[in-house]
C-alpha cells in the first residue's frame, strides 16, 4: 500500500514522538497576512468586475461566478408566468436554513411551500461533520464567541448579524435538543465541547463526526410532520416580481416531469446555499452536487447587492488521496483532538488550530515550495497525522469519535488509526453572498435570505461550527420576520428578468445561461419536456439490452 510514499511515511513516523508534545505558537498578524497574500487562492487577484446588474463595475467576482452573473436565463423568451401554485411563503432550498425556516413557520397559520432542486435534506448541511459553535460553558460568553469570529473574519463581518448569531447560539442549541438532536455529552451529562480553528476556548458541540447529518435528519423528520408542502426535484429558475420592486414568487422547473411551474407567493425565502461546485480555480470541493450558486444568480437579477463574493473558504483538510475521495472533508475536530499537520519531511509548519484560511495558505505554501507529497493521481498534499490521536487519548479513541472517517477510508484499506492521511485544501464554503439586514431582509421587498447564500455574517473567513449555527439561527429569524411583515399578494411578472435581458443585449448579448443547477462535470442540464410525449416508442436497441438485465434480487448479496 502506498509504496510511492514509503520514504515520506517513514519520516512522519520517525518524527512523531518528538513533535507529539511540541507547541507551535500561532502566527502573528503580519505573518498571517503575508502568508495569505502569497498563497491563499482568494488573494491571487484572479477576480474580475462585471458590467451588468447592481454590482456592475464595482465589486469583483471569481470568473467562475462572474460568468454566471452575466449569463442569460434559460427560460424561453416566450414563457409567460401563469400561476400554478398559490402560497403564502415559498422557501427555496431544502437544507438546514430552508427547513429551519419552514419549522419556524409551522404554527403561523400561513401556507408554506418548500422547493428543493434535489431531495429534502440533500445539502451541505447534511455533510457538515465537525460541529456547531455556541457559547454554552460557564467560562465562555457570546461576546467571546463574537471576538473569535470577528477576528477570524478579518473584521469584515457585519457586527449586528454576528452579535445576533452569538447571542442566539445557546437558544438554538436548546431548540435543536428539544427537536431531538443528540449532541455528544461528557460523563457528567454536560455537552462536550471542542476547540475549533481560531476559537480561543472550546466551544464546538458535535455528534461524533456526523453533526450535520444528525441535525439535518432531525430537521427533516420534524418538518415532514408539519403541514409544509415539500416540492422535491423542483429547481428554482427565476424569481418573479410585480414590476415595482417586490418579489412575488418564482418559476420552478420540475426536473422529473420536465415542465415549468409558476408559484405566486407573498414572501420568498432564499435558502439555496453555496457554490462549491463552481470548482473555483479548479479546486476540488467538499460540497454536495447542487451547490452551484443558483440563489446568487436569482437574487442578482432582482437587483440585490452581493457582499464579499470574492471570498471563499478553502477547508484546510480535504482528502487528497484516494482519488475517489478527493476534495471530501476530513473534519477539523480531528486536529482539535490532536492530529498534527506535517509536510513530506515529517515536520510541522504551523499550529493546526490556526484560522482556516491561514492554515490552508500554509499547506499550499508547503506544497508549492516543494515540501509536499506527490501523489500518483496527479494531486499533491501534506500529511494529517491521525495516529497521534490514539497515542494521546488512548487506543480506539479515533474510531469511537470519528466513525465517518473510518467508514470512508476503510473501503480503501486505509486505517486512519495506523497511518496518516493525505490532505490538501478543498473548496468548502461561500463566505459572501446576498446582503441582508438583521431580519434577513434583502434589498427587495418580499425577498428574504438565510444561510450560506447570504453574505456579511462571516466576513471573509468563517470559523468552524458557525455555519450550522447560522442556518438554525437565521433560518428561523427569516421566518419570524416574514410572519411579522408578510406583504400583500401582488401580480407575478418577469419584469426584472426583462430589464436584465435588455441590459445584456445593450452590452452585446450574454454568453451561456444560468442558474447552472448542476456541476458541469455531471453534464446534467435544464431541459423541458419533449412534445409529443406519448406516441414515441423506445429505441429497439435498449429494449433488447433491458431484456437481459432484469434487476437482481435485493437479497442476492446477503452474506
Amino acid at each position: 500500500m502506498m509504496d510511492w510514499a514509503k520514504d515520506s511515511l517513514q519520516q512522519v513516523a520517525r518524527t512523531r514522538d518528538d513533535r507529539s508534545e511540541q507547541v507551535l505558537p500561532g502566527l502573528d498578524d503580519q505573518a498571517s497576512q503575508e502568508l495569505l497574500k502569497k498563497f491563499h487562492p482568494d488573494y491571487k487577484g484572479l477576480e474580475r468586475k462585471i458590467n451588468v446588474g447592481s454590482n456592475a463595475n464595482s465589486q469583483k467576482f471569481p470568473p467562475e461566478l462572474a460568468d454566471l452573473l452575466e449569463a442569460d436565463s434559460p427560460l424561453p423568451e416566450s414563457f409567460e408566468p401563469k400561476v400554478d401554485i398559490e402560497t403564502d411563503v415559498l422557501i427555496i432550498g431544502g437544507g438546514g436554513a430552508g427547513v429551519s425556516a419552514a419549522l419556524a413557520l409551522n404554527d403561523s397559520g400561513m401556507k408554506v411551500h418548500l422547493a428543493t432542486k434535489l431531495r429534502l435534506g440533500d445539502s451541505n448541511t447534511v455533510m457538515a461533520e465537525g460541529g456547531i459553535q455556541s457559547a454554552i460553558t460557564a467560562e465562555d460568553s457570546s461576546r467571546r464567541h463574537f471576538a473569535d469570529s470577528y477576528v477570524g473574519g478579518h473584521g469584515n463581518n457585519d457586527p449586528d448579524l454576528l452579535r445576533y448569531l452569538c447571542e442566539q447560539g445557546p437558544l438554538s442549541i436548546r431548540w435543536l435538543t428539544e427537536l431531538g438532536c443528540l449532541f455528544d455529552k461528557n460523563e457528567d451529562g454536560t455537552f462536550r465541547v471542542r476547540a475549533g480553528g481560531g476559537t480561543s476556548i472550546p466551544r464546538v458541540l458535535a455528534c461524533r463526526d456526523y453533526t450535520g447529518l444528525e441535525i439535518m435528519r432531525v430537521l427533516k423528520d420534524a418538518v415532514l410532520l408539519t403541514e409544509t408542502h415539500v416540492l422535491e426535484d423542483h429547481a428554482a429558475m427565476e424569481l418573479l416580481d410585480d414590476g415595482e420592486g417586490q418579489v412575488t414568487g418564482a418559476v420552478l422547473w420540475h426536473r422529473i416531469e420536465k415542465k415549468l411551474i409558476t408559484v405566486s407567493a407573498r414572501a420568498v425565502i432564499l435558502a439555496t446555499g453555496g457554490s462549491g461546485q463552481l470548482r473555483i480555480q479548479k479546486f476540488p470541493t467538499s460540497n454536495h452536487v447542487g451547490a452551484t450558486g443558483d440563489g446568487l444568480v436569482l437574487a442578482y437579477r432582482q437587483g440585490c447587492q452581493l457582499l464579499h463574493t470574492d471570498s471563499y473558504q478553502y477547508h484546510p483538510s480535504g482528502a487528497s488521496y484516494p482519488e475517489a475521495l478527493a476534495g471530501q472533508l476530513i473534519t477539523e475536530s480531528i486536529r482539535s483532538a490532536g492530529a498534527q499537520v506535517v509536510n513530506a519531511h515529517g515536520d510541522r509548519f504551523i499550529s493546526e488550530m490556526s484560522f482556516r484560511d491561514v492554515l490552508a495558505g500554509a499547506i499550499i505554501r508547503e506544497v508549492e515550495e516543494g515540501r509536499g507529497v506527490e501523489i500518483p493521481n496527479g494531486r499533491k498534499g501534506v500529511w494529517l497525522d491521525t495516529p497521534l490521536v490514539d497515542m494521546k487519548l488512548g487506543e480506539g479513541t479515533l474510531k469511537k469519535q470519528f466513525p465517518g472517517l473510518f467508514h470512508r477510508f476503510e473501503r480503501y484499506n486505509i486505517d486512519p488509526a495506523k497511518q496518516p492521511l493525505l490532505i490538501y485544501p478543498t473548496l468548502h464554503y461561500q463566505n459572501g453572498g446576498i446582503r441582508i439586514d438583521i431580519e434577513c431582509r434583502t434589498d427587495r421587498k418580499g425577498l428574504w435570505a438565510a444561510g450560506e447564500v447570504t453574505g456579511g455574517l462571516h466576513g471573509t473567513n468563517r470559523l468552524m461550527g458557525n455555519s450550522l449555527l447560522d442556518i438554525t439561527v437565521f433560518g428561523r429569524r427569516a421566518a419570524q420576520s416574514v410572519a411579522e411583515h408578510l406583504p400583500e399578494r401582488k401580480p407575478v411578472t418577469l419584469s426584472s428578468l426583462l430589464k436584465f435581458r435588455q441590459q445584456l443585449k445593450s452590452l452585446g448579448g450574454a454568453k451561456g445561461t444560468s442558474p447552472q443547477l448542476f456541476p458541469k462535470a455531471s453534464q446534467m442540464k435544464f431541459q423541458l419536456a419533449e412534445v409529443p410525449p406519448a406516441q414515441e416508442t423506445r429505441g429497439a436497441e435498449n429494449t433488447k439490452a433491458n431484456e437481459t438485465f432484469e434487476p437482481p434480487d435485493p437479497f442476492g448479496g446477503r452474506f
Binding site: M127, I136, S141, R143, F146, G155, L171, E323, P552
Partner: protein, 219 residues
C-alpha cells in the same frame, strides 16, 4: 489509464479504474440514471444494487462511494421516504410498539443488516428496540443516513431506520436541557457588548484580538 467496463441499466460504459459509479456516470453523460444528492456518502440518495456475472459478491451500496469494477452491473434502486412517526419524550416499550406496530414481526432474516451501506447492525438493533434498550439503539443508529434500504428489503414491513430516528429523537428530547441557555445573558452582558462594540471597526477588531488572548474586554 486503466479502464473497466461497467453496465448500467443495460448500457455499457468504459469507466476509469479508481473512480466511483457516480463519477463514471457523470463522465458518460448518464448522470440522470442514479439519483444523486451529496456525492459524499451521507445523504442516501444514490442507492443501487450491483451484480457480477461471475461469483463476486454483489449487493446494495451507495453509488457515490462504490468503486467501479470490471464487469459490474448496476441497477438504480431509489427508495422513497415514508411519513415519519412523531417522537415522544421518555420512550418505552409500549410507546415504540404503538408508534411502530410491525416492530415484533421481525423474523431475524438479517436482510436489513446485509444491505446497510453504513455497516449498522440493523437487525440486532431491531431486537434491542423490542427490549427497549434505547441507549444502545441510539448509538447503533448514529451513522444512519436514512437511505431506506433496510426498510425496502424487509419482507415483514419492519421499518428499522424510521424506528432508529424515532428512538434517537425521543431520547434527545427527554430530560432537562443541561445548561441554562440564558445564563450567558448575565447582568453584565449589555455592558460588555457596549464595551466590545464601541468605536471604529479598527478599534473593535483590536479589542476583539486582545479579548481572545486575555479573556477580558479592555476598556
Amino acid at each position: 489509464m486503466e479502464t473497466v467496463n461497467i453496465n448500467i441499466s443495460g448500457k455499457t460504459i468504459h469507466a476509469r479504474a479508481g473512480e466511483t459509479i457516480i463519477q463514471a456516470l457523470w463522465s458518460a453523460g448518464l448522470a440522470e440514471e442514479v439519483k444523486t444528492g451529496c456525492a459524499g456518502g451521507v445523504c442516501g440518495a444514490c442507492t443501487v444494487t450491483v451484480r457480477f456475472p461471475d461469483d463476486r459478491p454483489g449487493g446494495s451500496d451507495l453509488a457515490c462511494m462504490r468503486l467501479v469494477e470490471e464487469g459490474m452491473e448496476i441497477f438504480p434502486c431509489p427508495v422513497d421516504g415514508i411519513a415519519p412517526q412523531a417522537p415522544t419524550p421518555y420512550p418505552d416499550q409500549e410507546k415504540i410498539q404503538s408508534a411502530f406496530p410491525t416492530l415484533n414481526r421481525c423474523t431475524k432474516c438479517g436482510s436489513c443488516t446485509s444491505v446497510c451501506p453504513m455497516s449498522i447492525p440493523v437487525m440486532d438493533s431491531v431486537l434491542r428496540m423490542q427490549n427497549a434498550e434505547f441507549d444502545q439503539v441510539a448509538d447503533d443508529f448514529t451513522t444512519c443516513i436514512h437511505c431506506g434500504l433496510c426498510r425496502f428489503v424487509c419482507e415483514d414491513k419492519v421499518k428499522p431506520h424510521n424506528m432508529g430516528i424515532w428512538v434517537r429523537r425521543s431520547l434527545g428530547m427527554t430530560g432537562e436541557f443541561p445548561v441554562e441557555p440564558l445564563a450567558d445573558a448575565s447582568e453584565n452582558a449589555g455592558g460588555e457588548w457596549q464595551e466590545l462594540l464601541s468605536g471604529s471597526p479598527e478599534e473593535i477588531l483590536r479589542r476583539c484580538k486582545s479579548f481572545r488572548q486575555t479573556g477580558k474586554i479592555e476598556a
